[in-house]
Symmetry: C2
Subunit: 661 residues, 2 copies
């Protein structure tokens, strides 16, 4: 390979721009521009393309020359794709669409491999396969409230599941199903040291989603906040060490964990404190109206440190193998409080220092800022009234620090390194930048500027913008509609993730990223150099599910086919450009177990395998062992092959499965 | 919505660059730059980022300002993702990953909807579900040899299937399974008026993939070229009007249809004319060596016009409901010829005027150019020797016009509008530009320049580069390895699709596009304005599978639930922000049929639906009707909801399914 030719390309580029006739044998280092005017050739391009000075600066800020890397990685939920999307910032290129809840053939996920089968089986619902999902909120693992680059978690809103992805290989290692609810939304969020992953219900059902008519809603329907214990060493959520807290059947929405001065607490917005049950077909208000009647909903304020003590003290009930702290216990033990919040809020976001919770009430033009200090004082003062379930509702005026009018439809807030907050305005289809008050600014709590976005921004994300130490760079507006932004590709349009430079004043819109592989709802952005991903697996013969040497690893020379009656077990190796063995002869009805070790150690030397008619698709990264098994229930001649274009003789990397009647 | 705010953004951008303190109320049109130096602010950005003049020109050539559109659309196969990827050029943004052979939750494809179920059932193999695939070669529909923007076809190499995608809505409408082979590769390619879609076998098996031991390879294993008749009005491949031609068990590779002077012919490369059968485990040469022994393989030259006459005359056998012209008949009727081609070629590409076929022999440093005129003369002269199957092998020297030495590992060739060809060099990891001879250039058949790419280019694509009228713009190098090009995302790396400007001399490498959603093998690039995609469906109540009004369309006011014993049929509407009806009450065991009409007419007003535990995921674009049915086999309370963030009250757009024991 001729990596060094890149230099040449840049030189050629220079020649194009200068019109010089230097021959290619005279190689020179590409020269960065220095003070003075840009080359006339660049001017000509800009003029020909009708680029404005703003366009030119945007182009230059976002362009990554070949071989250079992005500064940040952004993890975006895929929405109802059920996956997790990884993109580079500022280039906004999609680097990987990680298969999480839904099978994905390219990654060999859910098409026979034992490791993906085990992961997906963790997500069975009612014991049955359920291969669709709706991922919403990725959460990067944290140490002391800052991203540590080790793991990322994500929820499935549609079925109340949580997944764990290991950032050494960017693969999904675990899916857990919440045994008591079928819907989550305030998930996933982590506590500052990733001791727990938070999952909170959205649409209430009876716990265990048992049948109950809607006229028993207040009595039988419930919400739930679950704290999944994370074992960082094992890379697994541990159900036995996890617990839930029963909540009223208000529809809990997004959450955020407290940090620093608010560490030990978690905050969740809610809507439908009206406890409306819809039924427009029977003359009732439709859900959209029924759940939007009250001027105030409730911010849920949960003391998870206290809840942990209560759980450890055994003051729980066990429901479907999960420990649950009842609402009564939660009230008695000082675990659960509410505070009024202006109507139907979406985001509840904790400031970098942990002093405040910013609530964006989507049907109210303000953000409302709650003070942790005031919340603790109100609790100490018992300055509350009970809600219908006996939960203390803290006095609004006693806990609110400020309200800032931003515009229509505020949803979600991120932060920078200079005491500013950035809130998405769905109805105004804009991003509002505003100033925090003390200790960030002596004079604060005021709007600074508003930048229109295209169109209908839901969430937004800034660089490390929800950690204790935001970076004050790049902000991405996750717009729900794109309308006219991209070339038409039919009635299902891509979303538009817009990159904004927040290091300038005012902010500058830089780039429209088309999102044609899912509908991201939420994202987190981490400095790329914080992630230390493996280039290849640490050892040839690796089991990626358990991150250890596989018992089925096969060394060159040890390839074999073992037969025991109708049991056939194959130990195979794969290397450019052949499998060993190549010919598999079995009888119809044989149970075939097939282990393949990719014995490559070179970066990018991935091999794949597909077996026609048998629904098998594997991707084996360098060093990986993949195992499948199936009953050879169809006789015939089946040509299987490597599906990754691995070498010039890639097409020749194949074999036959011969199934004799 | 405030579309007009874009103007404002650009103005702000100008202010940033000029340092001017103009307030935002003074709106001005953004000004394109004019002759003279670029703004100093742009210079400063370039200097700070270390951009070379070549980088700057690349950034300016590829940047698309917000609201402007790409010039071309590129259709890339997804490889073992089983899908088809649509990207804009020159921005290289992924606009849509179209679900083809593999279920995809975001598009509601393969998760309950009747239309996707019907399409996927067309792809059953041995009557069983087979939901993995390996898409390789998309083919845009053509009229008179030029893309017409109506349809795109793609093959599944792993299971020998072909799919039809309608470019009015960019959705898959049909999958057909070849009943006689399990592997294809020379697929899909269209005849110049899309009368037929060509599908050719790669790995030979007995026809119908019946069992036969490998020592009966020469006798029983066969290849097949199939011409699938396409009915443009219906948008469907018609098996009854399609036919196959039996081929020797050489592994046929890529094909191309003749055009203009070669119209009526199709050309396919091949390898493994050695008829090696592998078995390294038994001391045989591994496939990679066994199939690479001979210096020459065979270009297959097929007269499909003649074959069509023979098919229409009934001189066929019927094998598994498909008409097959036997090899003997094909020879007798002058349908099938071979010509020697240097070893293990990959591409066989017809020049824009149809005069030549360019064969890239991947183990030979030359491209070999065959003349259609000379082929016809050699056939007239009977200047041939028979191969072991009695097929005429035309004399090499009699049919070859020229050979051009390009470098190591030539694979695939595209063309421009100025008589140049561009050939990928896998081993040299470069793109070679070379000059065609007469009638394109009096003095031709010579290498012009070589541009290194990063790394290991497989196929390449230029703008309309395989039509009768190439555009001479953008070329994309589909590289199989990216190695160090992108931020690390674990051992499975994205591919690198590199954009090259071929309108300059020399060529300029512009951009590295990360491909993290599949492994494209082949692509076609069409002028975007040739496609007239629908923004919304033509009528509310649309059936997208049959592109007509749906019998299940439900108008507002006509929503209802009909019950007949255990049969429950729901006629529902969806509109921002509610479904009608909202509450579905059934008994356990009821068979539920559920029709939803998205009654929106606004662009981008898509609604989704997921039903927890029941594995249902739908995407309903504006006007679309989607239907599902299932047995309510689990009692309980299930909250279903709209999965597309459609409005500020999107979270409120939900309902309950109550299944009583």
């Amino acid at each position: 390979m001729k990596w060094h030719k890149l230099v040449l390309i840049s030189v050629i580029g220079v020649l194009v721009l200068t019109g010089c006739d230097l021959t290619r044998t005279q190689q020179e280092e590409p020269q960065a521009v220095e003070g003075g005017a840009l080359p006339q050739a660049a001017m000509d391009i800009a003029e020909e393309r009708g680029l404005s000075p703003a366009d030119i600066s945007a182009a230059l800020k976002t362009y990554i020359p070949s071989g250079q890397h992005d500064e940040y990685l952004m993890f975006l939920s895929g929405g109802h794709s059920g996956q997790l999307i990884v993109a580079g910032v500022p280039s906004m290129r999609i680097l990987k669409n990680i298969a999480v809840f839904v099978p994905e053939s390219w990654q060999g996920y859910g098409f026979g491999s034992w490791d993906s089968r085990e992961v997906l089986e963790g997500g069975l619902v009612d014991g049955k396969e359920n291969l669709m999902a709706d991922t919403h909120h990725p959460a990067l693992s944290e140490t002391n409230g800052d991203y540590d680059g080790q793991y990322v978690f994500i929820n499935d809103k549609a079925n109340a599941r949580v997944a764990v992805i290991d950032l050494r290989d960017f693969e999904t290692k675990q899916i857990v199903k919440n045994p008591n609810v079928l819907s989550n939304h305030g998930a996933t969020f982590v506590t500052p040291n990733t001791d727990y992953v938070i999952e909170t219900t959205q649409y209430s059902t009876p716990l265990g989603w048992e049948y109950a008519p809607l006229d028993e809603y207040e009595e039988k329907y419930r919400g739930l906040i679950t704290l999944w214990k994370f074992d960082r060493e094992k890379g697994r959520l541990i159900q036995d060490e996890s617990f839930s807290i029963e909540l009223p059947p208000y529809w809990q929405d997004l959450c955020d964990a407290g940090k620093l001065v608010s560490d030990g607490w978690v905050f969740c917005g809610s809507f439908n404190t009206e406890m409306a049950t819809g039924g427009v077909e029977n003359g009732n208000p439709p859900f959209e109206a029924g759940v939007s009647q009250r001027d105030m909903d409730y911010l849920h304020i949960v003391n998870w440190e206290k809840a942990k003590e209560v759980f450890e003290a055994g003051k729980t009930e066990t429901l479907n193998d999960m420990a649950v702290i009842s609402m009564d216990t939660a009230v008695e033990e000082g675990i659960l409080y509410l505070a009024p919040e202006p109507k139907s809020p979406h985001g509840a976001d904790v400031t970098p220092g942990g002093e405040y919770v910013v609530v964006a009430g989507k049907l109210d033009p303000h953000v409302t800022i709650y003070s942790m200090e005031k919340i603790e004082q109100a609790i100490a003062d018992e300055n509350w009234e009970p809600d219908p379930f006996g939960i203390p509702v803290l006095d609004f005026d006693a806990v609110v620090e400020a309200q800032v009018e931003l515009g229509l439809g505020p949803l979600h807030t991120q932060f920078d390194n200079d005491g500013h907050a950035y809130t998405s305005l769905f109805l105004d289809t804009a991003v509002a930048k505003w100033k925090l008050g003390p200790p960030y600014h002596d004079e604060g709590w005021e709007l600074v500027e508003t930048l229109p976005v295209q169109y209908n921004v839901g969430h937004l994300v800034s660089a490390e913008g929800d950690t204790v130490d935001p970076d004050g760079k790049w902000l991405v507006s996750l717009n729900k509609w794109s309308v006219d932004r991209f070339t038409g590709v039919g009635p299902l349009l891509p979303q538009n993730e817009q990159l904004i430079d927040i290091s300038t004043n005012p902010m500058q819109l830089l780039y429209d990223m088309a999102m044609g592989v899912g509908e991201p709802h939420y994202a987190q952005m981490i400095k790329a150099d914080k992630i230390d991903a493996w280039e290849v697996y640490p050892e040839v013969g690796w089991d990626p599910l358990n991150q250890t040497k596989s018992p089925y690893a096969t060394a060159p020379g040890e390839e074999r086919i073992e037969r025991n009656g109708s049991e056939v077990e194959i130990f195979m190796t794969a290397v450019r450009s052949h499998f060993t063995p190549e010919i598999i002869e079995v009888k119809k009805g044989d149970h075939v177990t097939w282990h393949i070790t990719n014995i490559e150690t070179a970066v990018d030397a991935t091999h794949g395998l597909q077996i026609p008619a048998y629904n098998v698709s594997l991707s084996m990264e360098p060093g990986e062992v993949s195992s499948i098994d199936f009953v050879a229930d169809r006789d015939g001649t089946f040509a299987w092959y490597c599906t990754e274009f691995c070498s010039a003789l890639h097409l020749e990397m194949m074999g036959y499965l011969l199934v004799e009647e």
